[in-house]
Symmetry: C2
Subunit: 199 residues, 2 copies
């Protein structure tokens, strides 16, 4: 293209690296940030740097936190005998939104994926094992994603944890609430059938 | 929600201010930027600050540029007798992509919208008028958006420019190429009928 402005192009590139943001959207967002009258670019940049500087992994559960130990791990009212193992910090938020789970979490920061070069060593598994040594934990709920990578990770964890004599469970598979049976894929439907419960 | 991390929430807020980005997407993007291993937050922040610092309005056409005069206004091969007036800098990109228009541009940075408190004085109209004084410009193509605000702006500009004895044209209305007649709204269709051409 004949017309381009280098600093703007560089900003577009950063926006384009975000998941789900294409070339056109990136350009629109970059223009938006730059042309806002209230120094949005400055505020945005501050928020990025401050988040990057202050946010680290909780030394216990590896969730994102701005302290040494996250507010969930340090809360007095959580059940310390159950740990829900998830792939990402966002999954913790999803569980917290249910207001059902009262145990603790462990964030793996990924899933085993040999194609992407991610093996067990790249995940926060050592940190999970360390938490199991003192006998407080009675159950591990493996809540990795229902994908090939999530399944591989689940069975890997299951083997390790069972060897320590701790109960391992996996989230139930089935049809999503509010969904339409017609649109359920066959794998989900067979799993729902398999896991059927007496009424 | 029980669980929140202040610096992360502030970053989410900034993402949420972007057009078309909702609460959930903002959270996903914020997590993404923060958890990238290659200091994406730092690079993003640099790109924002550098764009903000270097990009200003072209002193001639008010388009975004990192110089004093933008590359379009300073190009030797553009037709200086035609100015295409647009609302935003992004519209310039859209015209440049057509590779059809060889004239110059003028970016208004908005459209007249009394409800939003935007009158003619908030737009780069004075700068447009200044460009018309030396008699070089023979035609003004008003390419504001086909919205109420865009129309109001177009008729305002038309009155001013015609008074100076300069030709004013407006983009053709009609059915979009590749569109389906069935889905064209009635206003567009009547305009397309009105503007029909002999084959």
């Amino acid at each position: 293209m004949a017309y381009s402005v280098a600093p703007l192009d560089r900003l577009c590139e950063q926006f384009e690296r975000l998941p789900g943001i294409g070339k056109k959207t990136a350009r629109r967002l970059a223009y938006y940030v730059i042309t806002r009258p209230d120094d949005m670019a400055g505020k945005f940049s501050d928020a990025l740097l401050s988040a990057k500087a202050k946010i680290k992994y909780c030394s216990v559960c590896q969730n994102l936190t701005d302290g040494e130990v996250c507010s969930l791990c340090s809360a007095a009212d959580r059940d310390r005998s159950v740990i829900c193992v998830v792939e990402d910090a966002q999954d913790v938020m999803a569980f917290e939104r249910t207001r059902e789970f009262k145990g603790l979490y462990h964030v793996l920061h990924g899933a085993i994926s040999p194609l992407d070069g991610i093996g067990p060593d790249q995940l926060k598994l050592r940190e999970l094992m360390a938490r199991l040594s003192d006998g407080t934990v009675k159950e591990i709920i493996v809540a990795t994603n229902p994908t090939v990578e999530g399944e591989a990770t689940a069975s890997y964890i299951s083997r390790l944890v069972k060897a320590m004599g701790i109960k391992v469970t996996r989230l139930a598979y089935g049809i999503p609430v509010g969904g339409d049976l017609e649109y359920a894929d066959e794998v989900t439907l067979s799993r729902a059938l398999e896991g059927r419960k007496e009424l």
